[in-house]
Symmetry: C2
Subunit: 237 residues, 2 copies
DNA sequence: TCGTGTCCGTGCGGCAACACACATACTGCG
DNA sequence: CGCAGTATGTGTGTTGCCGCACGGACACGA
C-alpha cells in the first residue's frame, strides 16, 4: 500500500465522477491517490479505519474469516463503489475484512472529511447511500447464491462481477485465492474452471485468467449475476 | 394486513424508542399501528412501497425467490428494526420480498414523511443508518453461513434470531415454512429439528415450536449467531 | 541447468444434503 | 364419527462437494 501526492483524477471512480462540480471542488484537496498490491489488507475484522477508499483500478473483496480459518466473500467493490461504508453508516467498524483482490489504484479520503461532507446531506450523501443499497443487493444475492447454486455457477458470477470492474480481460488470480473467495475447495475451482475452459469461455494458465467469451459465461452463470448487475446499473445511473 | 387508528406506542420499537422526545413528537401524528398475519406480503420483488414499517411484535423476513421457485432468506427484522430501507437509502425498491414470518403488530409511516424527517439529518437518520449497517452484517453472515455451515447449525441460528425478536418462547411456524426460509428441503428441517428435540433444546408439535433451552441452542449454533447478535447490540446501543 | 517452490490437475473414499416416495398422525369440519 | 387436509417422520438411491493424497508442469533464482 503506497500513497502518492500527485493530483488525483476523481473521474476514474464512478461515485466521485457523478458528483456536481462544486462538491468535487470542495473534496478535491482531501483526496489522495494510493496504490494497492494483491493481498493488501484494507481493513481488519472490527478494526479501526482512518480512510475510506474509492477504487479506480483496484478491486477490493469483502471477506469473512471463520474461527476455524475458512473464508468466504460477501461482496466486492471496484471503481463503482467505496470501501469503508461503516464510516458514514455510523458504526465505525464492521465484523469482516477487506482485502485487495486485484492490484491497482484507489482514491482515499480521511474519515473526518468524509463524515463532514456526508453530513451536508447533498449529492455526496445521496450517492453513498445508493451505493450502499446496491452493495446490500450484492451481499444478499451472494447469500442466496451460496445456498442454491453450484460452484460452477458461482464461479461464473464471480468472474463476471470482477470482469465488470476491470479494464482488461485478464485477471491475475490463482485458483487457491478464488477458492477462498467463493468459500470452496481449491480442487472445486479447478474442476469448474476446467469445464469453463472446455467450452471456450476462459483460458487459465498459472494465475492468469483470460475472459474469452463473456456470452458463454453469462449463460453458464445463475440469474444472480444479472440481478446484481441490473441493480447496480439502476442505482448508480 | 389491517390498520388501526388508535394512538400508537413508539416505545415498542427499539428504533423509535431511542429517539429524543422532540423528534418523537414531530413524528407521532404520522405513525399508525397495523396488524400483520402470518404470510402477509409487505412488499414484492422490485415493488413500490408506500410505507416503512417499524415492527413491534411482528417479525418480517426478507426473502429472495429464484426463477425456479426456490427461496432463501437474507435477513429478518423485528422490533429492533425497520422494513423498507430502500425508501431512505434512495433506491425506492429492492429486488426481493418481505413476508410476515410471525404474526403481530407494526407501526407504519408514510414514505414521504419518512424521507423528509430523514433529510433533517438528526437522530432519526443516524439510527436508521446504524440499523442498516447492522442489517448488512446480518445479511453478510447469512451469506457466509449458507456457504460453510450445516442445516442444523443454521436452524439454530435462525431460531435464536427469531426468539430474540419475540416476547414469547413459542414460535408458530411449520417445518415447511422454515425450510423455505433457510433454503433447504423440508425433510432436512425435520431431521435437524428432530435432533434438537432429542437433546432437549426445543419441542416441536405441528407448527408450534417451544424454545426449551436457549443455552443448548447457542452451543449447537455456529458462531454466526453471536456475531450478528453482538453487532446489533453494539450498533443499537 | 538444476532444484525448489508454486500452481494446477486427478483420483478416491466419505458425507451431507438432495429428490422422490410414502407412511403416520394430528386437526378441524361436516 | 369419518374424512380430508395438513404436518411430520422415514427410507432409498443419487449427487455435489469435501478431505486427502499425489503427480505433473511451469517459473525463477542459485
Amino acid at each position: 500500500m503506497r500513497a502518492a501526492s500527485r493530483t488525483v483524477n476523481p473521474g476514474k471512480n464512478r461515485l466521485l465522477a457523478a458528483l456536481p462540480p462544486e462538491e468535487v471542488e470542495r473534496l478535491l484537496p482531501n483526496l489522495q491517490e494510493i496504490s494497492f498490491s494483491l493481498g493488501d489488507v484494507v481493513y481488519e475484522f472490527s478494526g479501526h479505519l482512518d480512510y475510506v477508499y474509492f477504487p479506480t483500478t483496484a478491486i477490493i473483496s469483502l471477506l469473512y474469516t471463520m474461527e476455524n480459518g475458512s473464508t468466504a466473500e460477501m461482496g466486492l467493490t471496484g471503481n463503482d463503489g467505496v470501501v469503508g461504508i461503516a464510516l458514514f453508516m455510523g458504526g465505525g467498524t464492521m465484523p469482516n475484512r477487506a482485502v485487495v483482490q486485484s492490484a491497482g489504484e484507489a482514491i482515499r479520503m480521511k474519515a473526518k472529511e468524509l463524515q463532514s461532507e456526508f453530513a451536508l446531506g447533498g449529492e455526496f450523501q445521496r450517492l453513498l447511500l445508493r451505493y450502499t443499497q446496491a452493495l446490500i443487493t450484492q451481499i444478499s444475492q451472494t447469500a442466496v447464491c451460496n445456498r442454491l447454486h453450484s460452484v460452477e455457477q458461482q464461479l461464473c458470477r464471480w468472474l463476471l462481477l470482477s470482469h465488470d470492474r476491470l479494464a482488461s480481460d485478464e485477471l491475475i488470480m490463482t485458483q487457491e485465492l478464488i477458492a477462498d473467495m467463493l468459500g470452496v475447495r481449491r480442487e472445486g475451482v479447478t474442476v469448474a474452471a476446467g469445464h469453463l475452459q472446455d467450452i471456450g469461455a476462459i483460458s487459465y494458465v498459472r494465475g492468469r485468467i483470460q475472459i474469452l467469451d463473456r456470452q458463454k459465461l453469462e449463460e453458464t452463470a445463475c440469474e444472480c449475476y444479472r440481478v446484481v448487475k441490473d441493480e447496480f446499473d439502476r442505482l448508480l445511473k
